[in-house]
């Protein structure tokens, strides 16, 4: 009846997952009760859960990403603590648990923290920057989000029902095959990643279509803000890479569920094939994350230097160059398999060629600052922290791309330090810069600067204190994923690294304080103009938060820096004084399709993990029915009358009259 699910699935014998699981469940229930008691449920349902507004979906993505960032961070604290303790000892986490912790950490951080954060910012910003009212497929967008949330839910569910994979964040066979991993951990991994992967692929389709097809009148490709270009490149990578991931994991699934032999030791399976395929997705994946991050830095550095981006076309070229070359380098993740001098050399050189694109970007940001008037706001600090940090992270990457050097460093703590260097210094800093930068647009008030800057300094210092020692232990021969060790020389460095985590915790606390303080002081920090930073692109040309339709009248773009151009010439757009001609607008209606779909996807995923076949069929039928109901809807849109559009827009026009930065002229 319940497949493999029995009471044994609950880890009654392991206090750590049990207690933390209970706390999470209680907290979630508490929030739910509170929301119901306050009577907010209808509001949440109407404005958020069923919303197809790209702004709301973007914010929900970011919220999910932040929650998962915290979960992943807790895993990280546990691992650093374990390695600080487990010298000539077992530490406090047995291998069976420690292995789950690092596997969950990697999976969650890459797929359920970094991806939702980056995609969330893309969701919120891209349509605004393009000067349009929504993405190409608004309901699909909601489906994407909720499927991602399903994946995150399944991963977290494995904490208390069953176990998570004990194979690392990329489940290499033969270890991940049934013979060596008979538990449900790998199955949780597979279904969580597959389901959220569908969501990500749909996002890719949605944004490529939006960017190629739906720009404001006059916005040619070479007038798009840099962030839109990087979002386009990232989504093209998603389109090309995620199907590879899906197919690869499907093969592993067939091995595990139906006795196929794609990657098994027996019957002619070839596990090396998995390595090739998974990295054919995995390497582009890191650029899916970092390209939009580059886009965020481009926006921030240009705005706070008071200058357009230097070498815009060069930047576009470098972005597309990275986009293509990142598909030709996957073998650098296993030089040590001994493919031979020619193959290793070709992939090593291809890998370092990517650094050319990255280097060009670096210099262009540099010259964007040159001749600028730099304001050191929190987002700008994150960007400068990134510029100085990422160069060395890229350098260690190129070092790993030199095969003889990689022969000494592969899978060592040095590698761990490298990818945290680029992901923390590149992606996480970018996301925090982006959140601070676009927060006033999303919520109508700025974030408090003092705590934001404190968070930055703690994060920067904490990053170095945590990860520089890991480079050192890597050089001392320490490999990754060790649950215990007895090499005395490693110990001091691992202790320093653990101390670094404390500094990072301080940073995380400052960040949370910043959000809370800003919320409490939101009236002081209010920005009524919609243009708090003297912005240059179209998202600053509308109210904060923007009305559902984003722009009452679609902007006419005449320059690469649409809004700056308008401000400078202080004319046209809405015409100073002379009100534009408002028309009634059609906007897509909210739809519970995404939420309901994800509900059934969760059931399907859970049923497949535990081999509860009848439940899986229920889920499939439900999901299909949802799809049919959606296809049969007869009123896809609703109309906002012209008077309502005018009423909403007028308020903002008045506010802008008082704005600094010359926005008043609009």
């Amino acid at each position: 009846m319940l497949g493999k699910l029995t009471w044994d699935a609950i880890p009654f014998d392991q206090p750590i997952p049990l207690i933390s699981g209970a706390v999470v469940i209680l907290a979630a229930l508490g929030v739910l009760v509170w929301v119901i008691a306050k009577g907010w449920l209808p509001y949440l349902w109407k404005e958020w859960i069923t919303s197809v507004d790209h702004k709301h979906i973007g914010i929900m993505y970011v919220l999910l990403g932040l929650l998962m960032l915290v979960r992943g961070f807790i895993d990280a604290i546990m691992m650093r603590a374990q390695q600080a303790l487990a010298f000539h000892a077992q530490g406090y986490l047995p291998p069976e648990h420690y292995d789950q912790v690092f596997s969950a950490h990697g999976t969650i951080m890459v797929l359920f923290a970094a991806m939702p954060l980056v995609i969330g910012i893309m969701n919120f910003v891209v349509p605004l920057q393009l000067g349009v009212r929504d993405v190409a497929f608004p309901t699909l967008n909601s489906v994407s989000f909720w499927l991602t949330a399903t994946g995150a839910l399944l991963v977290n569910m494995s904490l208390i029902v069953g176990e998570f994979a004990r194979t690392g964040w990329l489940p290499y066979p033969p270890l991940s095959e049934l013979r060596y991993s008979p538990g449900v951990g790998v199955d949780y991994y597979l279904w969580a990643v597959q389901i959220s992967g569908v969501g990500t692929l749909l996002t890719g389709i949605n944004f490529v279509t939006t960017i190629l097809k739906m720009r404001a009148p006059g916005m040619t490709y070479f007038r798009m803000p840099m962030f839109c270009w990087t979002a386009l490149a990232s989504c093209l990578l998603i389109l090309a890479a995620f199907p590879v991931l899906t197919a690869t994991l499907a093969m592993l699934t067939l091995d595990r569920y139906l006795g196929f032999h794609f990657f098994t030791n027996e019957a002619g399976g070839n596990a090396m094939m998995f390595m090739n395929l998974i990295w054919a997705w995995g390497h582009p994946e890191v650029y899916i994350l970092v390209l939009p991050a580059f886009g965020i830095y481009s926006e921030v550095i240009s705005t706070f230097s008071g200058k357009p981006l230097f070498g815009y076309r060069s930047m576009v070229a470098a972005t597309l160059f990275i986009c293509i070359v990142s598909f030709c380098v996957w073998l650098h993740h296993f030089f040590t398999m001994g493919a031979g001098g020619d193959v290793n050399a070709v992939f090593g050189i291809a890998t370092s060629i990517i650094a050319v694109g990255t280097g060009v970007k670096m210099y262009n940001w540099l010259f964007t600052m040159y001749g600028g008037r730099i304001r050191f706001t929190t987002p700008m600090l994150w960007s400068l922290g990134f510029m100085t940090t990422f160069i060395t992270g890229g350098m260690t990457g190129v070092l790993l791309a030199v095969p003889p050097a990689d022969f000494l460093l592969h899978n060592s703590m040095f590698l761990v330090a490298h990818f945290h260097h680029v992901i923390v210094g590149g992606v996480v800093f970018a996301v925090l810069a982006g959140i601070t930068y676009w927060w006033p647009k999303a919520f109508g008030y700025r974030l408090e600067e003092f705590w934001g800057k404190a968070a930055f300094w703690f994060a920067l210092a904490g990053f170095y204190v945590t990860f520089v020692p890991l480079y050192v232990v890597g050089i001392l021969g320490m490999t990754r994923r060790l649950q215990h060790y007895d090499v005395a020389e490693w110990r001091p460095w691992l202790m320093i690294s653990a101390a670094g985590i404390l500094v990072l915790i301080a940073g995380a606390i400052c960040q949370m304080v910043q959000l809370s303080v800003s919320f409490l002081r939101r009236n002081e920090l209010r920005d009524t103009t919609g243009d708090p930073w003297d912005g240059r692109s179209l998202e600053w040309a509308t109210a904060s938060p923007p009305p559902v339709f984003n722009f009452a009248v679609l902007p006419q773009v005449q320059d690469a820096e649409a809004f700056w151009d308008v401000k400078r010439r202080a004319r046209e757009m809405h015409g100073s004084g002379s009100e534009p001609h408002y028309e009634a607008l059609e906007m897509p209606r909210n739809s519970p399709t995404g939420f309901v779909c994800a509900f059934f996807a969760t059931i399907i995923g859970f049923a497949l993990v535990w081999h509860i076949w009848w439940l899986m069929i229920v889920g499939l039928v439900g999901a299909y029915a949802t799809f049919v109901v959606f296809a049969w809807r007869d009123v896809p849109e609703y109309v906002i009358p012209a008077e309502e559009v005018a009423r909403l827009d007028r308020a903002n026009r008045i506010a802008r009259q008082e704005a600094p930065y010359g926005a008043s002229a609009i």
């Binding site: 008979p182 350098m395 030199v402 899978n411």
Partner: protein, 308 residues
């Protein structure tokens, strides 16, 4: 001047890090550092590594300095800095911007090409001495080193003669692992159904650190072995004196069962066809765990034995 503070602090932080790196250098030269290898392969790899670092630092350090300098000089409060809001393109700068990284990578590409070929792990070492043959097999979770010419084998201990080239053939009887002795240099994968080759040499007697660099399951942390380099004569004595049961199929059957933290021991009398039988999958692969959460016949995942 309010905004200068952060940049100064950042510069100070970076300076501190450089200092730390300098102080660190001597401590890296102890223990089993990959920068203090005891054989030609490790030395070759480490030299390439350092070359690559130096080549890259040549542009990385100036770039960081210029970043900080620009950020500091062009701060909004600096009235002496010229504001050039329209400086957005310069053909000359673009040319330089593309050529600096390109030239660096050109140089590095040469290093990569030469290094990859010269230090390919499958390439025999340029030495007149005949290499010592060693066949390594990974099990869950221990290393088996077979000395086919001596007809002996050793678990979790690798004894090698100093100054003589070593030729390894490496495979796995279960999941992936990576053979890694930081002091000797070059690592290589051990994979079921495949044979990797590795050529190494140790020039200094001593006891070193040996481990697996690829995660292989719950007993992974105990995939440790002791590489011991001894003078040639001592090696010959050791090989002649090794005691133990014969390593035959039955003995391999025991090794195929999962076990952790196995103390080193030896075999005398090795079936010479054994390595090929494992590598060509004539012998079945390791059994894997007999339990696991949510698996059929579930017991407590943690109560698994620690034999032998």
């Amino acid at each position: 001047m309010k905004s200068v503070g952060p940049m100064v602090r950042q510069a100070a932080l970076q300076a501190l890090l450089c200092l730390a790196a300098v102080m660190l250098a001597p401590s890296l030269a102890c223990a089993d550092s990959i920068l203090e290898p005891v054989g030609p392969v490790g030395r070759g790899d480490a030299i390439i590594l350092l070359d690559a670092v130096v080549i890259m630092l040549a542009i990385v350090v100036p770039t960081i300095m210029v970043t900080l300098a620009f950020a500091w000089w062009f701060r909004a409060s600096n009235t002496r800095a010229v504001y050039r809001p329209n400086f957005t393109y310069s053909g000359r700068i673009e040319l330089i911007v593309w050529s600096i990284p390109t030239l660096t990578i050109f140089l590095l590409g040469g290093v990569i090409w030469i290094g990859s070929h010269r230090l390919d792990p499958f390439e025999p070492l340029p030495s007149t001495a005949k290499p010592l043959e060693i066949d390594a097999v990974t099990f869950d979770w221990k290393w088996l080193f077979i000395y086919p010419e001596q007809r002996i084998a050793s678990v979790n201990r690798l004894v090698v003669p100093v100054g003589r080239p070593l030729h390894f053939r490496i495979t796995s009887a279960s999941v992936f692992n990576v053979f890694f002795v930081p002091s000797f240099g070059c690592m290589i994968y051990a994979m079921n159904g495949m044979v990797s080759q590795l050529n190494l040499q140790a020039d200094k007697p001593g006891k070193y650190l040996g481990l697996s660099a690829h995660f292989s399951g719950d007993g992974f942390s105990d995939m440790r072995f002791d590489p011991i380099a001894v003078p040639a004569a001592q090696f010959a004595d050791w090989a002649a004196g090794v005691k133990g049961a014969p390593l035959d199929r039955a003995a391999v059957g025991v090794l195929l069962k999962q076990s952790r933290a196995v103390a080193p021991y030896t075999y005398r009398g090795v079936d010479p066809a054994l390595f090929d039988a494992i590598a060509s999958q004539k012998l079945p692969p390791g059994e894997g765990p007999q339990s696991g959460r949510g698996a059929p016949g579930t017991q407590n995942a943690m109560s698994r034995g620690r034999a032998p």
